[in-house]
């Protein structure tokens, strides 16, 4: 899953560096509020541990072997911020000193595996393990699911990054300039291996480690257990759950949305029937696809977007239209998530009363 240099366009790499930098900054700030002098050796040694775990050749059911990522056990023992930094450092060491994974794609690799991987692993582990006792079997099951989901979420992100390359970056003759496969090929090609072997490897090692720690060193599981007391002082819990940095990152990404205007032509595969039928398009693709399919012609008017082409009709400036669309989209998602939270809180309150 380590993306080498050359597979992603510089603009994709830059965007993912920005996303990863927001994650690193936020994680570092949160950890600085904890005992920072303790953080440096702990994260460093844990990063080295993750590096070594990635090299373990793990026997899998079916007679094959696979490599784990180590992000799940890092998230379970250190919490999300510690896991983000430890995995990022392990990935950076692999790229800078061992030539495994690209340097231009370091941001993408850290974003996919360290940031998203750690957050998915931590979220799913906490959700399933809930407040189970440290030696409960539920924690082992939670580690299995967390490991499997974390690796597959990272792989899905990587496959989407691959898949959007031919849509956005082609030369005048239609030659893809970076990863050549569209989403319809990139996602299944990437996910088959991860849904089977790689996901299983992470699930097996995470479950094995949690089961081992339950017997040998349960204190290491306490920090993220949601139970009272911290036997080891290992877990690097943030002092407060401030979302300020996340808001800044979202605002920056919203402000960057007009960058989409810079891309020449329409995104590959998102043509309107008129564009599909145009002579220019017929040159770019094979002749057979230049005829507009009857189904597409018929269905194209079924749904009209409120903001067609990311700009409402009453807005003159295209850049401002992009920005307005981004604000509308983010606002809509926030309203949905707030409503979902209200419903969940109400349900929890009702359960508590009963």
């Amino acid at each position: 899953m380590h993306i080498p240099d050359g597979y992603l366009s510089p603009s994709t790499c830059a965007t993912l560096y920005v996303g990863a930098a927001a994650g690193w900054y936020s994680a570092l700030r949160r950890l600085k509020r904890a005992l920072f002098t303790r953080v440096i050796p702990l994260i460093s040694v844990f990063a080295a541990f993750s590096f070594v775990v990635m090299m373990f050749n793990l026997p899998l059911p079916g007679g094959t072997t696979g490599h784990a990522l180590g992000v799940t056990i890092a998230a379970i023992v250190l919490g999300p911020s510690g896991a983000i930094l430890a995995l990022s450092i392990a990935i950076a060491i692999q790229a800078l000193f061992f030539g495994d994974g690209g340097i231009s794609t370091l941001g993408a690799n850290c974003f996919n595996m360290a940031i998203v991987g750690a957050l998915v692993a931590y979220g799913s582990y906490r959700l399933i393990a809930a407040r189970a006792t440290l030696t409960s079997k539920r924690r082992v099951v939670a580690a299995v699911v967390a490991g499997y989901l974390a690796v597959n979420a990272s792989a899905l992100l990587a496959s989407i990054e691959f898949g959007i390359q031919p849509m956005l970056f082609r030369d005048a003759a239609g030659t893809p300039l970076y990863a050549p496969y569209p989403l319809s090929i990139a996602i299944p090609a990437m996910m088959i291996g991860h849904l089977t072997f790689a996901g299983m490897a992470e699930a097996v090692i995470s479950a094995g480690l949690v089961a081992y720690l339950q017997v040998a060193d349960p204190g290491l599981l306490r920090g993220t257990s949601g139970l009272q007391g911290d036997a080891t002082g290992v877990t690097l819990r943030p002092a407060s759950a401030s979302l300020q940095r996340l808001w800044v990152a979202i605002a920056v990404l919203m402000l960057l949305t007009p960058l989409g205007i810079l891309a020449a032509g329409t995104a590959w595969g998102e043509w309107s029937p008129a564009e599909l039928a145009s002579a220019a398009h017929a040159v770019r693709t094979s002749d057979a696809s230049s005829v507009v399919p009857a189904g597409l012609e018929k269905l194209s008017n079924l749904w009209t977007a409120p903001f067609p082409a990311y700009a409402p009709s009453f807005v003159r400036s295209r850049g401002f239209g992009y920005l307005l669309s981004a604000m509308f989209g983010v606002g809509l998602l926030l309203i949905i998530s707030l409503l979902a939270r209200l419903v969940l809180e109400r349900r929890r309150h009702t359960e508590g009363m009963s």
């Binding site: 440096i40 460093s44 040694v45 793990l58 392990a90 060491i93 094979s286």
Partner: protein, 269 residues
């Protein structure tokens, strides 16, 4: 017992150690890249990697690959080793990924047998991908081979990377070797004490327990390191010595690197 997975893991450990030692050995040689200030090497080679990813023409990426080979020769890097450890491995990995693109990329058909066809666009995208990855990986490998890791870290500091991040990178690099060695010894000793054939679940249990012991050791180690740092007066403020001095030769090298990268970006746009 099935020794395959234990051997494969220990071989992987040994390979990582050998690669790191080889890098230290090449970095000590007298060559072009080794003679330049480490910051120039870092900025120069990274700007060439950037130029490789920005160039849209096969000819320009090919020319950058030729520059990479020239730099390798002038820096006394063993080309046979580079071919065996970098070019062939990248060709095997990226080549397999690129081959289906020959047939799946829509465009002007150049070869066809009636059922499948190779398109001009497919051939160009597959070649560009393989050549781009080969060239970028060669530049990165040259940086790794010709620069001791301590110098890379100091140069990263010169590029304004936070001191905390540099310290963690340095400590991680040191402890990677210690933990690789510890894990290797644990697997070896377990293997020497095992008679008969282990079943699949037993093998997985053994691997997980080895990793578990390694995790406990890592946390204990980090506690020891923390106490050692505290006892020496560490209060979270990191100091890094940076005694680099740029000479005319370094400035000339930097200028040439940046000119080559800018020219490649301009010609390959």
């Amino acid at each position: 017992m099935s020794r395959g997975f234990v051997e494969a893991t220990t071989i992987g450990f040994a390979r990582a150690l050998t690669r790191a030692m080889l890098s230290e050995e090449t970095a000590r040689k007298r060559g072009l890249l080794q003679s330049l200030d480490v910051r120039v090497r870092l900025v120069g080679l990274l700007s060439l990697v950037l130029a490789v990813t920005l160039s849209r023409k096969i000819s320009v990426v090919g020319a950058l690959f030729a520059v990479a080979i020239l730099l390798a020769v002038l820096s006394r890097v063993n080309l046979f080793m580079l071919a065996k450890r970098v070019w062939l491995i990248v060709l095997g990995f990226t080549g397999v990924i690129a081959i289906p693109a020959l047939f799946t990329t829509p465009g002007r058909i150049i070869v066809s047998n009636g059922t499948i066809a190779i398109t001009e666009q497919g051939l160009r995208t597959a070649s560009l991908l393989v050549l781009r990855v080969e060239t970028a990986v060669t530049f990165t490998t040259l940086l790794i081979l010709c620069t001791p890791w301590t110098h890379v870290l100091k140069a990263l500091r010169a590029l304004r990377l936070p001191k905390e991040a540099i310290t963690m990178l340095a400590m991680t690099y040191r402890y990677v070797f210690l933990l690789v060695d510890t894990a290797g010894q644990m697997l070896e000793s377990r293997r020497s004490r095992t008679v008969g054939v282990l079943t699949g679940p037993e093998q997985r249990q053994m691997t997980a327990r080895t990793a578990g012991v390694l995790l406990s050791k890592s946390v204990a180690l980090s506690n020891d390191v923390y106490l050692a740092m505290e006892s020496r007066g560490f209060r979270g403020d990191v100091q890094i010595l940076s005694n680099f001095r740029m000479t005319m030769w370094d400035y000339l090298g930097l200028l040439l690197f940046l000119l080559a990268a800018a020219l490649a970006v301009w010609m390959g746009r």
